[in-house]
């Protein structure tokens, strides 16, 4: 087994062409997922069964099934229905990109909502009682006290999920998207050199993970500036 370094140096620039698509998938899904997560969280915290229940079912379904299966159901499964193909969503679902973003958003939304709930439940009771004693309304309490503290508590777990999301974007290559992984798989199919190409790809993903970790580390320190003197 020879390790062909020239293949590595040749293939990395080609794979980096797909960085843009990987990042689009990641950031779009992260933003939509976060909005969805907050909505789900509020539904669960509302204390009303007709809001809490659907949220719980949604989270259960999307945490309980592999993301690859979700992508396949959305990409190959939904268009089997005439109604979907005739609907206003078809221009989005027709595109592999739209399908991938939808699947990734729904999935990450379910996970992040649970992470945020952990943050909310972790807010110290004493602080909340102090807020109540100061006469803050329930809404004010949530916006000014619970939300900032819960966010800080949730950051470490959220950064984990963000990294998972970044890696999950590689699954978009299974539905014809040419992200970094899609490009790598095409190169492998042509060169019969899985070893060199996939190791190069792994290194690129590791570099991105490192950057994301550092960024979240900074954010966490910023959010904790009044906690750790």
């Amino acid at each position: 087994m020879n390790f062909d370094f020239s293949l590595v140096t040749d293939s990395i620039p080609k794979m980096l062409v797909g960085v843009g698509l990987t990042f689009q998938l990641m950031f779009l899904s992260a933003i939509i997922g976060l909005v969805l997560a907050v909505v789900l969280l509020l539904m669960r915290l509302s204390g009303k069964w007709y809001l809490g229940w659907p949220a719980q079912v949604f989270i259960y379904v999307f945490r309980g099934t592999p993301i690859l299966v979700q992508i396949f159901i959305i990409y190959y499964g939904l268009p089997q229905f005439e109604a979907v193909r005739d609907s206003i969503f078809w221009p989005i679902l027709r595109e592999p990109f739209g399908s991938a973003v939808l699947a990734l958003s729904l999935n990450t939304g379910a996970y992040v909502s649970e992470i945020l709930r952990g943050g909310v439940l972790g807010v110290d009771r004493g602080v909340l009682e102090a807020a109540k004693a100061l006469g803050l309304s329930a809404r004010q309490k949530f916006i000014y006290i619970t939300a900032p503290i819960a966010t800080r508590l949730a950051i470490p777990a959220y950064s984990n999920d963000f990294i998972s999301l970044m890696k999950a974007t590689s699954l978009a290559s299974t539905i014809t998207l040419m992200d970094m992984t899609g490009i790598a798989r095409t190169i492998v199919a042509k060169t019969f050199a899985p070893y060199e190409i996939f190791i190069s790809l792994a290194i690129i993903y590791m570099i991105f993970t490192f950057i994301i970790q550092k960024a979240f580390g900074r954010f966490e320190r910023y959010m904790s500036k009044y906690v750790n003197p």
């Binding site: 190959y76 089997q80 193909r85 027709r94 899609g182 798989r185 095409t186 199919a189």
Partner: protein, 269 residues
């Protein structure tokens, strides 16, 4: 002791029979036996299919007795080299990589691609002589299998088409039905059986002639044999040409497909 005697006898008989023009020794033919419609077992356990018909036709002409050996695809060439059988008649395309290890007869089946799209779409993609009109492909989405011969052909001949790469033929059919791609390019024989003849394929049909430029598609499917058997190879080539010229190959194909799957020009000398 016994073994070496047997070996001696075997060698002696090979030498004897190889010198004669008609071999009483059965020709052992390796195939997968699971690759419908080319070589497979029927419900009664009989081997059938295009490859099987070709093997029988060739054997009849060169006057050999046939013996079929079922062998998994990935071990086909090693088994031939290890003398487990004498010929590969298993829909194996003649490629340069394989020619480094084994020898091939002339082709008996096409290695082709054909475009499939909506039958009712009037796209005007090919001119009367069957040449693609490149401008009319601009912006069309074409589904292909990753790193297939079809991809090479498209990149070289029709770079204006938008190519979408898949990992297998089933997703190709699905996305064609779903309208995500305007057409797909694949093996017409498999597509006919797996898709076009099924209910789901009803609205679709071939929208191109068979495309088989040797530069991109190879010369075709041939009979594999060990290197250095030029005399046997000549007899196989003669038999294949006879099968082409007397219409047998067409007849074998029409049992399965509505079209022949070889190039009549191969029968010329």
């Amino acid at each position: 002791m016994k073994l070496s005697t047997l070996k001696f006898l075997a060698t002696a008989s090979v030498v004897l029979f190889a010198s004669g023009s008609v071999s009483a020794e059965p020709l052992r033919v390796g195939m997968e036996c699971t690759y419908a419609p080319f070589n497979y077992r029927t419900a009664d356990g009989e081997l059938a299919g295009y490859d099987v018909d070709v093997a029988k036709g060739v054997a009849e002409i060169i006057g050999a007795e046939l013996e079929f050996v079922c062998q998994q695809w990935d071990g086909m060439i090693p088994a031939l080299l290890a003398n487990k059988f004498d010929l590969i008649i298993a829909s194996m395309s003649i490629t340069d990589t394989r020619l480094e290890k084994i020898d091939f007869s002339g082709p008996y089946r096409d290695s082709v691609g054909r475009l499939i799209g909506r039958s009712d779409a009037d796209l005007n993609l090919f001119d009367d002589s069957g040449e693609p009109i490149a401008a009319n492909f601009a912006g069309l989405r074409v589904g292909l299998e990753r790193a297939s011969t079809y991809e090479n052909w498209f990149n070289a001949v029709l770079p204006d088409a938008e190519i979408v790469l898949y990992d297998g033929s089933e997703p190709l059919y699905l996305d064609l039905q779903n309208g995500r791609v305007d057409m797909i390019m694949t093996n017409p024989m498999k597509a006919q059986l797996r898709f076009l003849s099924e209910e789901a394929g009803g609205e679709f049909g071939f929208v191109s002639p068979a495309i088989s430029e040797v530069e991109y598609f190879g010369i075709g499917v041939g009979i594999g044999l060990r290197q250095g058997q030029d005399e046997l190879k000549e007899r196989l080539n003669g038999a294949i040409k006879e099968l082409i010229n007397n219409g047998s190959l067409t007849e074998y194909a029409l049992k399965i497909f509505p079209f022949p799957i070889h190039n009549p020009a191969w029968g010329d000398s």
